[in-house]
Symmetry: C2
Subunit: 548 residues, 2 copies
């Protein structure tokens, strides 16, 4: 057994391990003292019950024995599992009947039946399996049953046991087999009283309401508690789903753009000056110079286009020091940014948006079924309604639709959250889609670098994109002529000296171009019909929160 | 022709365009005034020569005519190219002989032969083609020849012409055809005197030296000038190659990790407190609270592992306020970070490093041949020597190799840049590889969260990875036991109150885990044998530079 283990280690390590063993012998005393200083010895003591002849089959694993097993004398636990294959909980099926397996997982629940028998449900990556410790199994003592029954929830345990298939289906676990335990070691002990119980955190509002009607008050974990103990909150099936979906959104975004000839760039987040042509920036001191954090990669991605990269994208943090206390604003979020040369028309950019997002939604529905189900179990939602080719409406058409529905808005002003929602409803009723592009926005409500419409400079070659009545994307063709750009900046009240390098970039020959920016957290939130962007940000930052 | 163009536009836009046209008529006078206010009218005037009957075949395109062509009366130029297919310069081959093509590119050089004839070389994505304007072609005037000859370098031009195949090969361009020009429009005019000449910026040291020996002094563009005018510097073939290679590194990194079951995460860059357990941080005010920029995603990626994501990675900016004025340090760089559960041994992490980077190097050599050649033409380098399975040496072995070569270093200290380089040389001589892993570093030189070795707590389960004698990766198994972690933090002089949330993450059951961090810019720099990290950062940030 130890031979197998040694072969799996790099040759160099074995040699040194042997060399080291010799050298170590002489220095042992000195080492021990240094070791005691370096490590808390309390955590490294195995809780062996001297009166139990089977005490080697269970217990808390001391920290240092988790390390290399190149030394066959490193400890009983290390030796016992050397060279064995690990089996993941999801792979525990009746095909493995009567096989001995080695598993690592979290204690989900324990249930002592008697002094002679205890159940243990273990969870790994959302899959659960029931394990049984009984003194009917050889080598299992009542002390071990007690140890198993007393394991703290969420502790990490390593187990060796034999797979059996019970006659009746097990309703409380995902896996339909039972593990007859032979050895159980606690690798990392959780606190006995956790600030959040995973079962509570995973509960849906529907369940809570239903229980309430039946006279039972179930625990509801509020948003702040979840975020304060995010590490526990992450472990709910819904959160496991949300962040795996988020990862997929990034993956699909990139894969689509790579296939269209885009180059990934990384623009700086540290920007000289204290304004970046706008307010609401985080300011800082950069080696004695005033600096701020980038509110978007806008200027640098356009400069990359002027540098002949043709088509670029970036995925990176975006910083907004705004005092927005809404369900959809964060002070730091992940921006998905695109910029590209265009030949003639800003519809070339909208065409990328159309195909990219339709491909994304198709892929999520196809490849994230399990994750979407997990999210939906806790936060029920209807699948997003979208068309194979994305609906495009002009701003003027949108205004008219609102007007026809009795909502009067300034035809050259911006939509507010309320009118965006209303328009979303009207579009859904009329066109049967919850994903659409609204373009030709009034120039006055867009950034200074936006290209006006050729036929009417009160409008612009710009667009927003909506999911379920909320904006997720903003895009436009940009001004690529430095003098016009300068004029527009001045008109918008921007000190052109602070953006002179940016403006100068267009003096060396600049191709017509456009692009867009997407908020990753918003895409996930709205695709999954969630009600708060804090649910789709790993460690959200808002005006009241900068921890954990 | 205009019909074709209209069909390619969204239906909505056509309708509104017509509606708008009617409304516009009444408001025309009002609009014109608003338009004059919104835009600099000087940039929107076509430079038509009234005395030339062929003046519609060339000229500067006014800004507003680049927009939508849904209005067939938007201008001669717009109508002329409606519905035509664009041909990229790289696609201009003898297969297109006698075909009329529409091209957009940059003016690379112009060469007037006489009043009747001028050559124009145009560049697109690194490919160049020669174009000829001659009055022998119908519709071409001497004024047009003059216009072509007078185009500023780097200006963006749209051209219509017929492909011809000259008898003699053209040595000065990549494409072996010539375009007989019919129409030439300047879409965006570059300044007549550019701060950097692309030819100068693209020149290799070898060329400069060779010319010098022949008595000719060629322009050498220094690093600071390049970075000040980065938009021009980007346009050299070497830089086009470097940043396309960088994009590929990110792509291969992600694809490999996705295929191994990793989840991409985005951790916050805004961190509470003013130290993050270290010095050299950028501090800022976060809504009245002290905050700083993340020096690495270390703590949050570990917390994600405690949150059961199993295996995670992140690509994002990393901020270091260090006063390092070396060829390999930046104040902001792109970190490629990995963190993963481990079953037994930190070699599981090194195994990912090994397979990931070997796959990366293989893929770069296979799929970025053109880009690597372009880099090598300006900055000659030898292809990286690496093995199908990455060499692993222990720190002790490394120290011994240095000792054998007469270099004495502290066996429990860190390697300095010089000894790293020396060891790189020795490893290359002995093992024939420039890429290797050095592991079991002395604990004292690693961060407080590093796991000590089970057999000797003076060493640690950590590793660095080297390319061409320089460190690119740092990794380790982490301490997952909160009390030991606290002890180690104290020993290392860290105020544990500032990292209490991090330490608490391990109190709710924490799996053994490890990971590593890579500097993207260093990978590209060292793979391509470049001498300065500023060459592989899009817009580098160092203690003396925060612009552009």
């Amino acid at each position: 057994m130890s031979g197998e283990s040694e072969q799996s280690l790099p040759l160099e390590e074995q040699q040194v391990s042997k060399k080291a063993a010799k050298k170590q012998a002489a220095k042992e005393e000195k080492m021990r003292r240094r070791q005691e200083h370096a490590l808390s010895s309390s955590a490294a003591s195995l809780s062996i019950d001297e009166e139990d002849p089977h005490s080697h089959n269970y217990g808390d694993v001391p920290l240092l024995e988790l390390k290399s097993c190149s030394d066959p004398d490193a400890g009983n636990w290390s030796r016992a599992i050397n060279g064995k294959e690990w089996t993941e909980v999801f792979a525990l099926t009746d095909k493995l009947k009567d096989t001995e397996v080695l598993i690592r997982g979290r204690v989900y629940t324990t249930r002592p039946v008697s002094k002679k028998m205890a159940f243990l449900v273990v969870r790994e990556k959302g899959f659960t399996v029931q394990c049984l410790a009984t003194i009917n199994t050889e080598g299992i003592s009542t002390q071990m049953v007690k140890f198993v029954a007393g394991l703290n929830r969420e502790s990490i345990v390593d187990m060796i046991g034999v797979v059996s298939v019970p006659e009746k289906p097990i309703t409380s676990t995902t896996q339909q087999v039972e593990i007859q335990l032979k050895k159980v070691y606690c690798v990392n002990k959780a606190l006995p009283n956790l600030p959040i119980n995973i079962e509570d955190a995973a509960r849906s509002e529907v369940e809570i309401e239903k229980a309430l009607q039946a006279g039972e008050q179930l625990v509801r974990v509020n948003q702040d508690t979840r975020l304060n103990f995010r590490v526990l909150d992450f472990r709910t099936p819904a959160n496991q789903g949300i962040f795996r979906i988020q990862s997929q959104v990034g993956r699909i975004f990139r894969d689509f753009l790579y296939s269209e000839g885009f180059v990934e760039i990384h623009t700086p987040k540290l920007i000289a000056g204290s304004s970046e042509g706008g307010s609401a920036v985080f300011k800082l001191d950069y080696k004695g110079q005033p600096a701020c954090l980038a509110q978007s990669p806008q200027l640098h991605k356009q400069m990359s286009i002027c540098g002949d990269f043709g088509r670029v994208f970036e995925i990176g943090p975006v910083f907004r020091a705004e005092d927005s206390y809404t369900h959809r604003h964060l002070c730091e979020f992940t921006g998905l940014d695109v910029e590209m040369e265009i030949k003639k028309h800003y519809s070339e950019v909208m065409d990328i948006v159309d195909r990219l997002f339709v491909a994304m939604f198709d892929s999520l529905n196809e490849n994230c079924k399990k994750e979407l189900e997990a999210v939906g179990r806790q936060y029920p939602f209807e699948p997003l309604k979208y068309k194979p080719q994305t609906l495009q409406l002009t701003f003027e058409e949108g205004v008219q639709m609102l007007k026809d529905a009795g909502v009067e808005i300034d035809p050259l002003g911006d939509l507010n959250t309320e009118s965006e929602r209303k328009l979303g409803q009207l579009v859904l009723e009329k066109f049967g889609t919850e994903f659409y592009i609204l373009h030709r926005y009034p120039l006055a409500v867009r950034p200074f670098y936006t290209m006006p419409c050729f036929d009417n400079p009160l409008y612009s070659n710009s667009f927003d994109v909506f999911i379920r009545g909320e904006e997720i994307i903003s895009g436009a063709q940009r001004l690529h002529e430095p003098d016009v750009l300068t004029e527009r900046a001045k008109t918008c009240g921007i000190d052109v000296n602070t953006i002179s390098t940016y403006i100068d970039s267009f003096r060396y020959g600049a191709p017509p171009h456009g692009g867009f920016g997407v908020g990753l957290e918003r895409v996930v939130m709205l695709f999954c019909g969630l009600n708060n962007i804090r649910k789709t940000s790993l460690f959200p930052r808002d005006p009241l929160r900068i921890a954990p």
